[in-house]
Structure formats: structure tokens, C-alpha cells
């Protein structure tokens, strides 16, 4: 049952990423050119509601569907990993035009070369795991 709920949420996510064109390489290019409000509108309106949702959950100490209190682990209080890691991510995002969620959406939509991007992303994740102890965080 729980697996089915994950699948349903994934399907809704995949449809959304495609239909709002957040999975389009072109939209990401346009966003970094500051030529359209579209992507900023998506992220901005998601955030506006997201902040309200999270603050509401916290203030009411809401529980999830299984009765467990919803807690959200705070991020670490460092700068290096976010700034450096984030910059690497941004370089890849603008090059491949895809962040991890839309990658899967594009497989389903039939753009088969996206599989190369996913393979690269798994490889990048693996290399990070191996180099982690040598990198500044």
C-alpha cells in the first residue's frame, strides 16, 4: 500500500514536471538568461506555499498518515559544501538542462539519450562518495 502511494506521488510529479515544462532543456536555458518569468514563477509559488505548509506543520506538530510526528532534519551549519557542491550542480544543471527529478520524467517521455545523463549522475554520485573524505565541507 505504501509502495503504491510512492508510485502515485511519483506519477503526479512526473506529469507535473513535463506539463509545466520544468523538464525542458529550453526552459532551463531561458531561466539562466533571465528571459522569462516562467521558471521563477514555478519555484517562487512552490516556495510561497511550501513555507506556509512547513510552518503550519511545525506549529501544529502535525503527524503523518501513520501517526508519526512529521519532523524535518535541519541542514548542517556549514558553507563550503553548499557553495562548492551547489556550484558543481549548477554547472551540470545548465549543461544537461535537467535536474534529477526531470531526468526520470524524460525517460518516460521518450527522450532516450537522457539515459546517458542519468548514467553520468550515478557516476558523479559514486565519485563523490569515494572522494568525500578529501573534499572540504
Amino acid at each position: 500500500m505504501r509502495s503504491l502511494s510512492y508510485l502515485f506521488i511519483g506519477i503526479l510529479f512526473g506529469i507535473t514536471m513535463f506539463k509545466v515544462e520544468a523538464a525542458s532543456w529550453f526552459r532551463i536555458y531561458e531561466m539562466f538568461q533571465f528571459k522569462s518569468f516562467h521558471m521563477y514563477g514555478i519555484i517562487g509559488s512552490a516556495l510561497f506555499l511550501g513555507v506556509i505548509i512547513i510552518q503550519y506543520i511545525k506549529s501544529k506538530q502535525l503527524k503523518d498518515a501513520f501517526g508519526t510526528p512529521i519532523t524535518i532534519a535541519p541542514k548542517e551549519k556549514t558553507i563550503a559544501r553548499y557553495l562548492i557542491g551547489g556550484t558543481f550542480f549548477g554547472l551540470g544543471w545548465a549543461l544537461s538542462g535537467a535536474c534529477p527529478g526531470p531526468m526520470y520524467t524524460l525517460v518516460g517521455a521518450g527522450f532516450s539519450p537522457i539515459l546517458v545523463v542519468i548514467f553520468g549522475a550515478v557516476l558523479g554520485t559514486f565519485v563523490y562518495g569515494v572522494l568525500k573524505k578529501y573534499l572540504p565541507h
Binding site: 506519477i11 518516460g108 546517458v116
Partner: protein
């Protein structure tokens, strides 16, 4: 019906994304689409190479199921919910991309050069896709999250780290878009 078949506006997409974040919280999980890449490495025996992959990945199978759902959702959206998937870009962007050799800007969902079957026989395209993917995977784990984990969940939770990560996303993205892509494309 046209409302569904046409591209959805940002004010539909943003709230849906917030709703998806809430649904995942409600079923006891967290919104973050790059974690599944780590799960794949762990499931493939990555623990032999690094303790970063030494954990019970079976507890994280849910994120692979969400990814599978995203694949199915992409198929549904493309094949059942769209008549014309061409992205209506700003005319300046169309001109600019045409000068860079991307002739289908404004007429397609993705640049054909990189994302249709033709790309499989073009080593340069494959290298760009591989390099882009590598940077996304490496950077997402280094930063501890991607667009969904930091720009949506983290910022919604008012995390300073996520704000710094999003600034990093834009530093990298702007450098690639403005200074490197013109030479790469």
C-alpha cells in the same frame, strides 16, 4: 480539455510541486529527487568503495519507486496529456539558440541535437550529456541535495544552508550558460 493538453502555467505547476512535497511528508518521506542516485550506488555494492554507500539501502527503496513513478508520469504527460509539446520560448532566446546551432528552439520540447535518438551516434552530444549528468550527480551529493531538496524543501524550511546551495546552483548555472555553453554547443 485544452487546459490540460496545453502546457500548464507556472501558477499551476508551483502549487502542484508544493502539494507533492506535502504528500511525501504525509506518507513519512522527504522531497528530494537526487537521493535515489545514492541508493542506486549502494544497491550496486558501492559500500566496497566508500562508507558513504554503506547503509541499509533497502530502507530507501521508496525513492526508487518515486523515480519509477516519475518515468510513468513522463510517459503519460507526453503521450496522453499533450498535443503539441513545443515550448513557447522568448523570441530572443530562440534567436540566440539558433545562432548557436540549436535550430529547433521554440518548436520542440527538447533540442533534437542532444535528446533524440540521433544523439546516440554523435560522440560530442554523448560527452556533453555524460559530463552534465556527472556534474549534477557529483554536485547534488556534495551539496546534500538538488533543486527539490534545497530550492523547494530546504528553503521552505527556511534553511540557510539551502539558500547558500541555491546561490551555488545559480553561480554554476550562470557561468555555464553565459560563458561556457557558447563554446560547448
Amino acid at each position: 480539455m485544452d487546459l490540460i493538453l496545453n502546457p500548464w502555467p507556472w501558477y499551476v505547476g508551483g502549487p502542484l510541486i508544493a502539494g507533492i512535497m506535502f504528500l511525501l511528508l504525509w506518507v513519512g518521506r522527504r522531497f528530494g529527487m537526487s537521493s535515489n542516485l545514492r541508493t542506486v550506488c549502494a544497491a550496486a555494492g558501492g559500500a566496497k568503495a566508500s562508507s558513504f554507500f554503506d547503509y541499509n539501502w533497502k530502507d530507501e527503496r521508496w525513492n526508487l519507486i518515486v523515480a519509477l513513478g516519475a518515468v510513468i508520469g513522463g510517459w503519460i504527460a507526453m503521450n496522453l496529456l499533450s498535443t503539441d509539446a513545443a515550448v513557447a520560448l522568448h523570441p530572443d532566446v530562440i534567436d540566440q539558440l539558433q545562432q548557436l546551432g540549436i535550430s529547433d528552439a521554440g518548436k520542440a520540447f527538447m533540442p533534437e541535437k542532444f535528446f533524440t535518438a540521433n544523439a546516440w551516434s554523435d560522440p560530442k552530444s554523448l560527452l556533453i550529456l555524460l559530463g552534465g549528468g556527472f556534474l549534477v550527480g557529483f554536485g547534488a551529493r556534495y551539496a546534500g541535495g538538488c533543486t527539490s531538496g534545497h530550492a523547494i524543501s530546504g528553503l521552505s524550511n527556511l534553511q540557510l544552508g539551502s539558500l547558500i546551495a541555491v546561490i551555488g546552483f545559480f553561480i554554476g548555472g550562470l557561468v555555464m550558460n553565459h560563458f561556457l555553453l557558447p563554446y560547448i554547443l
